[in-house]
């Protein structure tokens, strides 16, 4: 791991500090707890009197419940309660407007007898052990009146998509906006359709909730939550409580990727039933239940048209995308948002369509929109490069845009060219043989392997939200940093600690970081790759404030004061938020992937053998945790490229994947060494720390880089993911 990054720490308020920890490859503060099993995840909390809920799910994908017989379940050993829509615990309809509350699926669990998708929660059994609850759930007899479901995205009924966060998907510029028919200067053109399959959320930690009521009007909820304070407000509305009567505890999250920001139906049911029962209740989703109750990325179909001059200048881009949602909520996969960000063209047309299918509700999944969008766009760019006989790296450099073509704002601190050039250099791209099927590697087996090199760009917006953090100095010489923001495995504990260490001039091991508790100041959302960009400025500011409060110039002096005066602590809370800069600049992180694949053509056996990625993410607070995020994204992209897909039985609409043996993502053996490097300068227009997000960019462009390498290896253009062996035969 190398980092080409000028580390220029302006936040360091301590003159005496000799070394700065920001910018170093510090190991995770929570690493030891995690690998030794002492980090307590939501489902692992031990509470006395805890009972277990197991949800009953629908095997049909559309229709209604005629009747439910719960007698056998209720009589099974250990059973405490059986809930159905006929005796649902009380749940209130939340505003569900992002401001006051947000749930993933607008329909509340057990709200009526209608079935909208297979796997929908139709009941819950509570028993003294998980095994007994599961057994009794199996004994609940539901009589359904089924109807023919729609689970085939290819034949679904597409309509113009509703807007994305208030903004229309449709966009027309140049001749598309004026309606003028002729676009001149087109000397080369490609038009192609690219598809992806449904990808499931499958984080290591299944979705789980423990609800522990204190009486009937206060509750503590242990739940992995990427957005602790909004989850708190949401449960308050769902349960009809004042916000401060709900406490959310989410110190550790075993992977969220967008699927753990808000409550899903089983969690809502857990919280409501626990009040009804007057006992702490735990509900853990099985992998099978997660196929419908934890979100997914919709299948997509995207048609790209790129027209260019013979010299390779883009003249026209058309990008039409289709995705699917569930009958009970609206979530378009925003594939086209990436297009006006990547390449300049005087004529651009964007359009999205959405169809309703009888599937669980789709949601945000690592780089929603960008991941499938870049698959299509970066494949199309490669096709255009071959058509024009122009190096794909050059084609991208030549066509990049210095401004966001929808916002009409210049990009801040954009070093995309450096990503491409340095990536090419590190990979040895100039050594690429110019024709497909022209590189081979002798094999120990029988036939030589075809070798292909591919590349693609990566991008993800820089998001930032309002946050607060509290810093407390204690007489024992430690500083505590407190925030409701959280670490879903990203390294937030570590970078928050590092920020405070430098701001206070203390070594990292004297900083204690507490995250993921709704009693703490609002740390915002761990989503949209924005936790670091949003939270560390507040942490740095709170450090300065606490020194002011102590009337000390150094933390050491503040500690001395505490010891002399016998005072318990100095404490300060600071808040930061984005401001005018969002009207002056557009913010994106940038990157380039380079990869090598081998294809054993006789067997359709594809292996990724080499990977180099260069990223431009503003200041790199910690090259180790940052590179780890990029690698994780790349690995997830390899899954999207090669194996991830959820299929449904065409007759019943029931998913035919049921666990991690049927839903494949990469094993270690699928992953080569992944070299990650960073380029660029701190983006001080964006926030005082100069950091942009790094959590999602890694996955963008990965599938295209692989498919582009496959084309170079085999001469076969793959336009449908995943690239299964049969597609290579």
């Amino acid at each position: 791991m190398e980092v080409n990054m000028s580390q220029n720490i302006s936040q360091n308020s301590n003159q005496n500090a000799t070394t700065s920890v920001v910018g170093t490859a510090a190991s995770r503060k929570d690493g030891r707890a995690k690998v030794t099993g002492t980090a307590t995840y939501a489902a692992e909390h031990q509470l006395s009197g805890l009972v277990h809920g197991y949800v009953v799910t629908s095997p049909i994908a559309k229709g209604r419940i005629r009747s439910i017989n719960t007698t056998a379940a209720a009589q099974a050993p250990g059973v405490i309660a059986v809930y159905t829509h006929q005796n649902s615990p009380q749940i209130f309809k939340p505003a569900n407007n992002w401001m006051n509350s947000k749930i993933y699926e607008a329909r509340l669990p057990l709200s009526d007898d209608q079935i909208h998708y297979a796997g929908q929660v139709v009941g819950m059994v509570v028993a003294d052990t998980l095994e007994r609850a599961r057994h009794a759930a199996h004994l609940v007899q539901v009589d359904y009146e089924p109807q023919a479901p729609q689970v085939n995205a290819r034949t679904a009924n597409y309509q113009p998509s509703p807007p994305w966060f208030g903004e229309d998907f449709t966009f027309n510029s140049g001749s598309f906006s004026t309606g003028s028919a002729e676009v001149t200067g087109i000397e080369a053109q490609i038009e192609a359709t690219y598809t992806t399959e449904m990808e499931l959320h499958a984080p290591m930690e299944p979705h789980a909730t423990i609800a522990h009521w204190q009486g009937k009007d206060a509750v503590t909820i242990y739940e992995p939550s990427q957005y602790v304070l909004l989850t708190q407000k949401t449960y308050a509305e769902l349960l009809g409580l004042a916000v401060e009567r709900v406490r959310i505890l989410s110190p550790y999250i075993g992977g969220g990727f967008g699927s753990k920001a808000f409550p899903w139906p089983p969690s809502i049911l857990c919280a409501a039933a626990a009040r009804d029962l007057g006992r702490p209740l735990k509900v853990v989703n099985s992998r099978r239940q997660m196929t419908a109750n934890a979100g997914h990325r919709s299948e997509t179909e995207q048609t790209l048209k790129l027209s260019a001059t013979a010299a390779g200048k883009l003249v026209l881009i058309e990008h039409l995308a289709k995705s699917c949602t569930s009958p009970v909520d609206v979530f378009p996969e925003p594939c086209t948002i990436v297009t006006p960000v990547m390449y300049a063209a005087p004529n651009i047309r964007l359009e999205q369509q959405l169809a309703v299918m009888n599937v669980g509700t789709p949601t945000f999944m690592r780089a929603p929109g960008e991941a499938p969008g870049m698959w299509a766009l970066e494949s199309a760019m490669d096709e255009l490069a071959w058509t024009l006989k122009i190096d794909p790296v050059q084609l991208r450099i030549m066509n990049q845009t210095q401004s966001h073509q929808r916002k009409n704002l210049p990009f801040s601190a954009k070093q995309f060219t450096e990503c491409l050039e340095q990536g090419a250099e590190r990979f040895g791209w100039q050594g690429r043989s110019p024709e497909p099927r022209s590189q081979v590697s002798p094999s120990q087996t029988q036939d030589d392997l075809l070798v292909g090199w591919g590349m693609a760009a990566a991008t993800f917006p820089g998001y930032r939200g309002a946050t607060s953090a509290k810093v407390r100095l204690l007489p024992d010489g430690t500083a505590h940093v407190l925030s409701s923001g959280n670490d879903m495995g990203t390294g937030a504990y570590t970078v928050v600690g590092m920020t405070a260490a430098d701001a206070l001039g203390l070594p990292l091991n004297q900083i204690r970081v507490e995250l993921g508790d709704s009693l703490l100041p609002d740390g915002g959302i761990a989503g949209g790759s924005q936790m670091t960009a949003s939270l560390t400025p507040s942490v740095a500011l709170a450090c300065q404030e606490v020194l002011k409060a102590a009337e000390a110039t150094t933390a050491a002096a503040a500690f001395e004061k505490l010891r002399q005066t016998g005072r318990a602590a100095f404490e300060a809370t600071a808040s930061t938020a984005p401001g005018e800069e969002t009207k002056q600049f557009a913010f994106n992180s940038w990157g380039a992937h380079f990869c090598e694949v081998t294809v054993d053509e006789l067997l359709g056996r594809l292996r990724i053998t080499r990977w180099v990625s260069v990223m431009n993410i503003g200041r790199v607070l910690n090259p180790k945790t940052a590179a780890s995020q990029v690698r994780g994204g790349i690995i997830m992209g390899m899954g999207q490229a090669l194996m991830e897909e959820c299929h449904f039985d065409p007759n019943t609409g029931f998913p035919v994947v049921y666990d991690l043996a049927t839903y494949h993502f990469p094993a270690h053996a699928d992953i080569p060494r992944i070299e990650v490097a960073f380029v660029g300068e701190p983006d001080l227009n964006f926030n005082p720390m100069g950091v942009r997000g790094v959590g999602e960019i890694g996955i963008t462009g990965v599938a295209a880089a692989i498919a582009n390498a496959v084309y170079h290896a085999t001469g076969k253009r793959i336009r449908s993911l995943p690239i299964l062996p049969e597609k290579l035969l």
Binding site: H135, D649, N651, F654, V657, D670
Partner: protein
């Protein structure tokens, strides 16, 4: 999971006594398949008889130079045994290409033979399934059947046998030794697993109350260059799309005898006597192998989504035979 009574068998006889005449009793060895099945209500035994302490863990040479392997030898022990790796490398490779190290560490030889299909329709009680319950249909036939059988299937069932190890054992003509209330018997491997026919509920010819005590590998010098090749949806930790175990006995360039078994294509490890017969006396050339592959797949009947398996099976046969002809190794 339904409540069950758990006992540890004190001897093979004891285990047989406890399970004979009690149709809702089951034996458990490593538990890596059975416990998963119990959790999703595929099996709901009232009594679970644990074999794991029985003295069936020996591996010893037979007098004829073969190998006798106790039913409770773990998959790892068997795969790592230096003489197995030397004399039957395809068996070692087949085992190591399956599951994960952790699972293989507890999975046993007997349990591996009796693991059940991974057909998703069998695995979820939301669906009907003739294998799970006679007469409830086969939704896989008109459903997502990419992973299903192309050979030897019936109207009743298109499931495949998921084991890798068994494909190698089929090619090696292993003998399964079983013991029941009426004594012991030996079952040739080819007769151990069944085709689905009208009784897909039965995977094997093991009688109720019978227990596997050991497997015997006959001596087979040609096995030293035998090959196991498995293709799957990722590089590790996935069941086979198709796999093949291949052994050739060569004299110069001429094939003296051949054994060919396919995995992932049928309700049992699929030997192809026609292709094996064809190979005998032929020169070990790519053309011969291509023809043999075509013969082996002659009776293949692809379904909606698994047509590619026919072509892929032919190709792994060609590849595996070519590697065997060159002296074996990784294919």
């Amino acid at each position: 999971m339904k409540n069950f009574a758990y006992t540890r068998a004190t001897s093979t006889r004891d285990a047989i006594a406890q399970t004979t005449g009690n149709p809702s009793a089951m034996v458990i060895a490593g538990g890596t398949n059975l416990v998963d099945r119990m959790k999703v209500f595929l099996d709901q035994p009232s009594d679970l008889v644990d074999l794991s302490r029985l003295p069936l863990k020996q591996m010893e040479r037979t007098r004829s130079g073969g190998f006798k392997i106790g039913a409770l030898v773990t998959n790892t022990t068997l795969a790592d045994h230096p003489e197995i790796r030397r004399d039957y490398p395809l068996l070692s490779r087949a085992i190591l290409s399956g599951a994960s190290q952790q699972i293989r560490n507890v999975a046993t030889v007997g349990g591996n033979l009796l693991q059940r299909t991974r057909c998703p329709y069998y695995y979820d009680t939301a669906f009907g399934c003739n294998k799970r319950q006679a007469g409830t249909g086969c939704p896989a036939a008109t459903g997502v059947n990419r992973g299903h059988a192309i050979l030897g299937a019936s109207d009743q069932c298109i499931a495949t046998h998921p084991s890798d190890m068994c494909v190698a054992l089929a090619a090696l003509d292993a003998i399964v030794e079983v013991e029941g209330s009426r004594g012991t018997r030996q079952i040739p491997f080819a007769e151990f697993h069944r085709l689905p026919g009208d009784t897909p509920q039965r995977d094997t010819n093991l009688e109720p109350g019978e227990i596997i005590t050991s497997i015997t590998l006959p001596p087979l010098p040609a096995a030293k260059t035998g090959v196991y090749l498995k293709l799957r949806d990722r590089a590790s930790y996935a069941f086979a799309l198709v796999s093949v175990a291949a052994i050739l006995e060569l004299s110069g360039d001429e094939i003296r005898s051949a054994r060919l078994a396919l995995g992932g294509v049928a309700h049992k490890p699929w030997r192809s006597p026609e292709a094996e017969r064809f190979l005998v006396g032929k020169p070990a050339t790519p053309e011969t192998f291509t023809q043999a592959a075509a013969i082996a797949l002659q009776s293949a009947k692809p379904l909606t989504y698994n047509g590619f398996k026919v072509e892929l099976s032919k190709r792994i046969i060609q590849r595996a035979l070519a590697v065997v002809a060159k002296g074996g190794g990784l294919a």
